[in-house]
């Protein structure tokens, strides 16, 4: 990718039947926070196809190791040790280098380190619950963490979130900006979660479930899960001689 000129074409239109709609009454908080009027369509201008670039200088040595990045010296977070890895790609299958990926999650007991969190599961004094990475030249990223626990949340009287990790991803254009969640292969809680069920398409849900990846498991240390993230693709440049202004 290093030798490729920066891309300046607009992105593929977003498939809004694939994403969750704004109004999803099964997820109660969406009811008053969902725009009701039609979005106004705007084909990508410079404002949408450009985006910030983050340098590796923002990264600390342990930003992608949640097991130790908040722990006291010599100590580690408690829980099932896992490696999460994958690539950030676009819809064309092209790896996206230099993409900032941020992640956050509950601890092994399903408790977040947050003032407004009231679940009775204990905090782990050695677990902060967040980290970040910048993708390599092929779009690859990885981080070490502990597997988060499921937890109850106030929606229905007995609603539970499946184990999940939140992801915030920057591509190369502001229109690619995406926040999503990663789920774990084999977890029956995924299919009964009201937030997962905001997604109308079963295949779109499957696209958020990370596979157990025994090939990349580190023997006697941690298991691996593979999670690829797909951002919007870019149209091809068929007409390079187009007049400047786009």
């Amino acid at each position: 990718m290093k030798n490729m000129p920066p891309e300046t074409t607009p992105f593929f239109a977003r498939d809004r039947a694939w994403h969750p709609p704004a109004f999803t009454p099964g997820y109660k908080t969406s009811v008053l926070r969902s725009p009701q009027r039609a979005l106004i369509s705007l084909e990508g201008t410079k404002s949408e196809i450009t985006g910030p670039v983050f340098g590796h200088n923002i990264l600390g040595e342990f930003d992608n190791d949640l097991i130790v990045n908040y722990a006291k010296p010599g100590e580690m977070a408690i829980g099932e040790r896992i490696l999460v890895h994958g690539r950030v790609l676009d819809e064309r299958g092209v790896g996206i280098p230099g993409a900032l990926v941020e992640f956050w999650q509950a601890n092994a007991g399903g408790r977040y380190r947050h003032k407004k969190e009231t679940y009775l599961a204990p905090l782990d004094p050695n677990f902060g619950g967040f980290g970040r990475a910048i993708t390599d030249e092929n779009g690859g990223y990885f981080f070490k963490t502990i597997k988060p626990g499921p937890y109850p949340w106030p929606n229905g009287v007995n609603d539970w979130r499946p184990a999940h990790i939140h992801f915030s991803v920057f591509g190369h254009g502001f229109a690619q900006r995406l926040i999503t969640q990663m789920y774990f292969e084999g977890d029956p809680m995924v299919w009964i979660c009201p937030i997962v069920k905001t997604i109308p398409d079963e295949n779109a849900i499957k696209g958020l479930i990370a596979a157990l990846d025994m090939q990349n498991t580190i023997p006697h240390d941690m298991r691996a899960y593979k999670f690829d993230i797909i951002l919007r693709g870019r149209r091809s440049t068929f007409f390079e001689n187009r007049k400047e202004g786009n």
Binding site: D15, P21, S30, P35, I40, G128, L208
Partner: protein, 205 residues
């Protein structure tokens, strides 16, 4: 039979949830010692930045007028001359003292957000016409299933706004003011209404 089109589908969005601040602004949420500072949290302006200093302030309101206290707002804008600080900006080089991107959480007690930045210059539309100065917004929060995109234009740019290719094609003129930040001196107030009579115009970009 035809050749298959081998495109992937974009990863489906999920809400940022109530704890987005843990991941994106951990110091703000009280978790210190991991990141030296929250990314995008400071002023966008230093002594050498070109352009007119402004502060953008506002609230994000839900459908019954309650300000969100758990929203995260990001902005992306051109420099004073209308250039983005991005590799995809091929018309010229952006001001090296202006990054152009920032993010702020709404205040935990009141919900108000604030950005210290500069007023952007005009950026050309795809056909070469100039768009009026604007700041691109992206809003996520608990209860928002897919990040919302909007733009803030400026109330002191009436002429440019009237000629703006996007503002001028909005059919329901009564909604256009939802995209205009109200300028009073160096402060520009931009409130975002997720729903209701004054629902902000959001874009499918």
């Amino acid at each position: 039979m035809v050749q298959p089109l081998t495109y992937f589908k974009e990863s489906a969005s999920q809400t940022a949830g109530p704890y987005v601040h843990i991941g994106c602004t951990p110091n703000f949420s009280g978790i210190t010692g991991v990141y030296p500072e929250d990314l995008g949290s400071g002023s966008l302006v230093n002594d050498k930045t070109r352009g007119e200093r402004i502060t953008i302030r506002g609230f994000v309101y839900d459908g019954v007028g309650t300000p969100l206290k758990d929203a995260l707002i990001e902005i992306w804008q051109a420099d004073a001359d209308g250039f983005y600080n991005s590799p995809s900006e091929t018309r010229g080089k952006g001001d090296p003292n202006f990054f152009g991107w920032a993010r702020q959480p709404g205040d935990m007690a009141t919900g108000e957000f604030a950005f210290e930045t500069i007023k952007p210059g005009k950026v050309p539309f795809r056909d070469g016409r100039l768009m009026a100065p604007h700041v691109n917004f992206w809003i996520v929060a608990r209860g928002i299933n897919l990040g919302l995109n909007t733009r803030m234009y400026f109330s002191d740019e009436e002429e440019a706004n009237a000629a703006d290719p996007i503002l001028s094609r909005i059919e329901h003129r009564v909604r256009v003011p939802t995209l205009i930040g109200k300028r009073d001196g160096a402060v520009v107030t931009f409130n975002i209404y997720l729903q209701g009579e004054n629902e902000t115009i959001f874009f499918d970009i």
